[in-house]
Symmetry: C2
């Protein structure tokens, strides 16, 4: 979420970090969306996401004290509920300031209480490294988690409170991956070889990433092998390694180098 992403000032590293975590927990990320700090835009994006019926929607950013922190209001609007001042959230914020400034009395001004105004029916989640609590709310089988935009805070809350929920949903699903590099072969030459290996090893996904491009110099392609399955670990690994080996043999036969 946020204008800084749409202005191109900030690269969405929160999204990549969360996506990598979800993947390694056996989950599958279906979409990443960045929208402006605008009430209508955010709530539209939330409504669209709900309609796709995912198990989880994770938002980052927009839950702080400033005027343009409006994610919670937008979630409330998307769910047609009101914001309410949550007592537990107020306590979390008060305790945060008390810990941080043991000798000062920090009064709960409006911008500070704003961080405790959360959608009716939602639950605040402790932020172990910042002020604004995160928020969790369910709707039609989808769990929505609203995390802070500050990466350190988003990560801490994800680790504390989301990872368990996600791996519980993913069940025994495992994700394995391998990278290799192919030199001396154009991507257009590699394409039918990949097709062939993927047909022989269904379940293994091979994605090619041309680096340096077909445009100049020697072609140099990174290949990403992955498999996501709830089968026994040994069998999954055998599948992945089988596909890997078959591809290496095929590209070596046409004179390419693999590393």
């Amino acid at each position: 979420m946020g204008n800084e992403l749409l202005l191109g000032n900030t690269v969405n590293t929160n999204a990549s970090w969360i996506a990598a975590q979800v993947t390694s927990l056996g989950g599958q990320v279906c979409r990443i969306t960045a929208v402006a700090d605008n009430l209508e835009e955010i709530s539209k994006a939330i409504r669209e996401a709900i309609r796709r019926k995912p198990n989880f929607i994770i938002t980052t950013g927009g839950i702080g004290p400033t005027f343009d922190d409006m994610t919670l209001k937008a979630v409330a609007r998307a769910l047609r509920v009101r914001l309410k001042l949550d007592k537990i959230a107020v306590t979390m914020i008060r305790e945060h300031y008390a810990r941080r400034f043991p000798k000062r009395r920090i009064s709960l001004t409006r911008p500070r209480l704003k961080m405790a105004s959360i959608p009716s029916g939602s639950m605040p989640i402790t932020n172990p490294v910042g002020t604004a609590p995160a928020v969790r709310i369910s709707v039609h089988g989808t769990e929505i988690f609203c995390l802070p935009g500050v990466p350190r805070e988003a990560k801490a809350i994800f680790r504390d409170s989301l990872s368990k929920a996600i791996s519980a949903k993913a069940g025994r699903k495992k994700f394995l991956e391998k990278w290799i590099t192919v030199q001396g072969l154009m991507e257009s030459r590699l394409a039918p070889i990949i097709d062939n290996v993927m047909r022989k090893f269904p379940g293994v996904y091979i994605k090619s990433h041309p680096r340096g491009g077909e445009g100049r110099g020697r072609p140099f392609i990174e290949l990403h092998f992955s498999i996501s399955s709830s089968g026994p670990g040994m069998k999954i690994e055998r599948q992945l390694l089988g596909a890997l080996r078959r591809l290496i043999v095929a590209v070596s036969n046409v004179g390419a180098r693999v590393s």
Copy 2:
């Protein structure tokens, strides 16, 4: 676009680069979306984007020779048109190979011709640094541009072929920005000051980015001032500097340091 973004393997730097370019040309990016390499997912995302009636939709990735390069097929599906083998695109690809391998005869295999199969009614755009031509197609007042995913290729085509179209649409709109750093003040304390300055300088947008967080150590906040307007350049700059000055005075009055 692309699984690598959803797996968290790749950070979406193409999106940030394009967003920064569009912003500096006076345009406004309303949304950034990443979806899986899946025909239905991509065409759904394209249809949703068309419904929002933007001036431009820019896609990156999925126009190469491999089986999972399916952006053009997805665009065709979203627009309910067919893919057709485009003669100009074939020539572009043939000439690219001839330039790159002057001594070899590169035959136009199926994966290579795939890059010349573009939606009916679209136009291929020369890729000066790679093989796959980019594609341009109009629908209901929206111009769709499909760029390659390789950053070097996407950038070259953007500079050659998109920047003019975007700045023509943006008209005389200009975008100015400034960053400052505020130390010794919590974001919750800064919030009402920002509100106040923004009320005095409508048009100027001030966004606060807590770095290091409110959680530990000294608060340290980056403030981003921006204005996007078609007014005379001098006046816009005066607005931005006026807002900057007023904020600096206000935070200095409560004992914060600005740099």
